[in-house]
Subunit: 243 residues, 2 copies
């Protein structure tokens, strides 16, 4: 892990760009660093530059409660090399959506399964590097999309204590079996009228999660319309579980 | 409205039993009464004595944030006179549940529609009396079951500014049309594995509400297992809307 840029905001939050091998990422740490901070991994749909305004807002909101936050670019997004198979699946997805056709399981599988297989080990490697920093302690939470990545991470990564998952992406059918193996506390955010998302499938996935404490928050509005008060709810959820 | 009993708790909350005509009720007001307090009407499934431990806990939790809270007995519950038709519908409901049969729309209609018709004017009369007290100001919220009563009240009572509704009771099909007329902000609490409640019908009702701001919180566990943190969520919801 190599830090490549640094800036401090007027709320005292320190933002540092880093690279982990070829993978770019960003780390935010709260201002007056006394004890090592618990860490929230910020999930997103890919494209750090495009997502930056929302990510930095979420990170600073968490930092105000004492959490460090970090994110990395997804495979095949931003400046990272594209895979021909993923690009083809993405084009098929776009065609289906534009034609108003249902997005078939075949497209979802081709788009999401390789992404999950590739991204999750990268998130775990980032976690190794982040937890080696003296300013970051445990415990660790995950917050955001892609819900399939968050689900796999919750199953395979024992250092993850709780997760806020955005029900805003396509979930391969076979991920439902993995969802049943998730036992950490979950807060699932669902945009009720999300045009690009199948509501029933999101509810089925929530039902499938094996966690004893799982909560669903559904709100009105489209995919990017998650109300600001859910950021507060996320902080309170982590305050209960990242201790 | 006539006060018939009074006790003060060690958190300063004053509890007063009252009668409004033949209807018994309870009013809780926060300790150091400076300005007139906003009011939360506490809905419940009937049986003030049986429900008292949960009601007083909810009332004191709200009073800690400066809210007054009040509740009245439902028609045909507690010590109030029974109606033969309601008792018959209740017996039919019990038979269907014990036989593991689906509860038909006919039973739900016979049980709930007359209750709503009778209870809502009583809640409004209680509101008249409560708002006439100098220690209570507006605005007014409703929190609890019966969701059909809360729905009707939200449609017909212009002094109601926001409602937290427990999706824990049977809702007649015709109430869905009323739900579409509800425009005040709503927080709907759903117990995901509520044995006595049809989850899909609860989700359909949430979908039907016409409010621009409506949020669903679904949690694990049975009918009475609403987690304690939802009481905090209710207070924060009212803090946003009862101002």
């Amino acid at each position: 892990m190599r830090f490549v840029s640094e800036q401090r905001f007027d709320d005292g939050v320190l933002e540092r760009g880093f690279t982990l091998g070829e993978i770019p990422g960003i780390l935010w740490t709260p201002g007056p660093a006394s004890a090592p901070a618990p860490l929230i991994l910020l999930g997103h749909p890919g494209g750090l530059h495009r997502m930056y305004p929302r990510l930095v807002a979420r990170a600073r909101h968490s930092a105000a409660e004492g959490y460090a936050a970090a994110t990395i670019e997804l495979p095949g997004s931003g400046d990272r090399p594209r895979s021909a198979a993923a690009e083809e699946a993405r084009a098929d997805l776009r065609r289906a959506v534009e034609a108003g056709e249902p997005v078939g399981d075949d497209i979802i599988d081709r788009l999401v399964l390789p992404l999950v297989d590739e991204a999750v080990p990268e998130w775990r490697a980032a976690l190794d590097a982040l937890l080696a920093l003296p300013e970051i302690g445990g415990p660790v939470g995950y917050a955001g999309g892609v819900i399939a990545i968050g689900t796999r991470l919750a199953v395979v990564e024992p250092r993850l204590s709780a997760a806020v998952l955005f029900a805003g992406s396509f979930v391969p059918r076979r991920m439902f079996d993995e969802a049943r193996q998730v036992t950490i506390p979950l807060l699932v955010l669902l945009q009720w009228d999300d045009e690009g998302n199948d509501r029933q499938r999101a509810l089925d996935l929530f039902d499938a999660f094996g966690a004893e404490e799982k909560t669903l928050h559904a709100n009105m509005g489209g995919h990017t319309g998650v109300p600001q008060f859910e950021a507060d709810a996320g902080n309170r959820f982590f305050a209960r579980h990242l201790t």
